[in-house]
C-alpha cells in the first residue's frame, strides 16, 4: 500500500472514537454483491412480516411510503474493513412493521428478493435501531445499493443490512443466514470485531 495523504490522517482524527478497530474511513460507497442485481419495480414490490406461526402482514410500496418516515444519519461499517461516516437515509423504522404483528420470537431473518438472508436478534432491529430505507443522500436508493429498499442496521457489520429486502421472518431460534452459514460471525458487532465464526 502507498503512503496515506495528510488529509486522510486529518479526517481520521476528526472522527476519533467513531472508527471501530481494524476499519479505515472511506468517502466512496463500495458495492459488494453475491449475485445478479435484482430489479424490482415499486408497483410489484411488497414487504412482508411473517410470524413463527406463519401469519403474515404485508405492505405495498405506497402503503410503506405512507407510514411515518425517519431520516437517520448514521455511520456504517463493512466487514471488509471500510467505514463510512454520516450516511443519510430515509425510511421507516422496523418498529412500525413489527408492532403490527403478534410474536414472541426473539430472532428474525431478513429475506431479500435475490434469495439472500441474514439473521439478527429481534432486539437489534427494534427500539429505533433499524430501518427499511428507500432513499440515500436525498435520492431514491439505486439498485446496486439495494433499491428499491434495503435494511439498514448501522450498529452491526453492513452485511446484516440486507439489500433488496422483501420481508422479515420471526423465528424462535437463531437461523444463520447467507454469510453467517459460510464462516461469518452470527452477530457481527464491529466494535468487538466479530467478523468470523470464531471471533
Amino acid at each position: 500500500m502507498g503512503s496515506l495523504s495528510p488529509g486522510f490522517h486529518g479526517r481520521t482524527r476528526a472522527f476519533e472514537g467513531r472508527l471501530p478497530p481494524g476499519q479505515y474511513p472511506t468517502e466512496s460507497f463500495p458495492v459488494l454483491s453475491a449475485g445478479p442485481t435484482p430489479h424490482v419495480p415499486t408497483d410489484r414490490w411488497s414487504f412482508t412480516v411473517t410470524t413463527e406461526r406463519g401469519e403474515t402482514r404485508s405492505w405495498t410500496w405506497d402503503e410503506m411510503m405512507a407510514l411515518p418516515q425517519e431520516e437517520p444519519t448514521v455511520d456504517i461499517h463493512c466487514v471488509t474493513r471500510w467505514s463510512k461516516f454520516d450516511t443519510r437515509w430515509r425510511g421507516v423504522s422496523l418498529d412500525v412493521f413489527l408492532d403490527e404483528v403478534d410474536s414472541s420470537s426473539e430472532h428474525v431473518v431478513a429475506e431479500s428478493f435475490d434469495g439472500y438472508t441474514t439473521n439478527l436478534p429481534r432486539e437489534d432491529v427494534t427500539g429505533g435501531k433499524a430501518w427499511l430505507a428507500h432513499a440515500y443522500d436525498g435520492y431514491a436508493l439505486s439498485p446496486d445499493h439495494g433499491g428499491p429498499a434495503r435494511l439498514v442496521v448501522p450498529h452491526l457489520y453492513f452485511w446484516k443490512s440486507a439489500k433488496w429486502i422483501k420481508g422479515i421472518i420471526l423465528t424462535p431460534d437463531d437461523e444463520p443466514g447467507f454469510w453467517e452459514s459460510a464462516g461469518y460471525h452470527g452477530y457481527g458487532d464491529p466494535w468487538r470485531e466479530q467478523r468470523y465464526w470464531s471471533d
Partner: protein, 98 residues
C-alpha cells in the same frame, strides 16, 4: 454509474480452492440440481471477492458454492444447506488460533 455487479468466471476459484484441493477443482463438473445444466467449476459465474466468493450456475444463478477466506482459514460451503467446511490454510502465515 456502473451496472453492478460484474461477475468473474470460475477460474477465480482456482487460487483459493487450490489452497485446500490437491487437484485442480476448476475442471470438476457440477450438475445443477435446480436447472439440470452441467457446467465445470470454471464456467460458474463468480461474484465477489468480498465479503466472499459466491459461485452460481451460469444457467439459473442458483448458488453452487461459497468460499470465505480469513487469516489462517478457508470456509467452503457447497450448495445451500450442506453446512460450511473450515479448512486450515497451510500456506497462510497468519494463523487464527480459533
Amino acid at each position: 454509474m456502473n451496472e453492478h455487479p460484474l461477475y468473474l468466471d470460475g477460474n477465480a476459484l482456482a487460487g483459493p480452492l487450490g489452497e485446500v484441493f490437491t487437484t485442480d477443482p476448476t475442471t470438476a463438473w457440477r450438475l445443477c440440481p435446480a436447472c439440470r445444466l452441467p457446467a465445470t467449476l470454471a464456467q460458474l459465474h463468480v461474484y465477489g471477492p468480498e465479503p466472499g466468493l459466491t459461485a452460481r450456475c451460469p444457467g439459473c444463478a442458483a448458488v453452487a458454492l461459497r468460499v470465505v477466506t480469513q487469516p489462517g482459514h478457508l470456509w467452503l460451503q457447497l450448495g445451500s444447506g450442506a453446512g460450511a467446511f473450515r479448512f486450515s490454510r497451510p500456506h497462510d502465515r497468519v494463523r487464527n488460533p480459533g
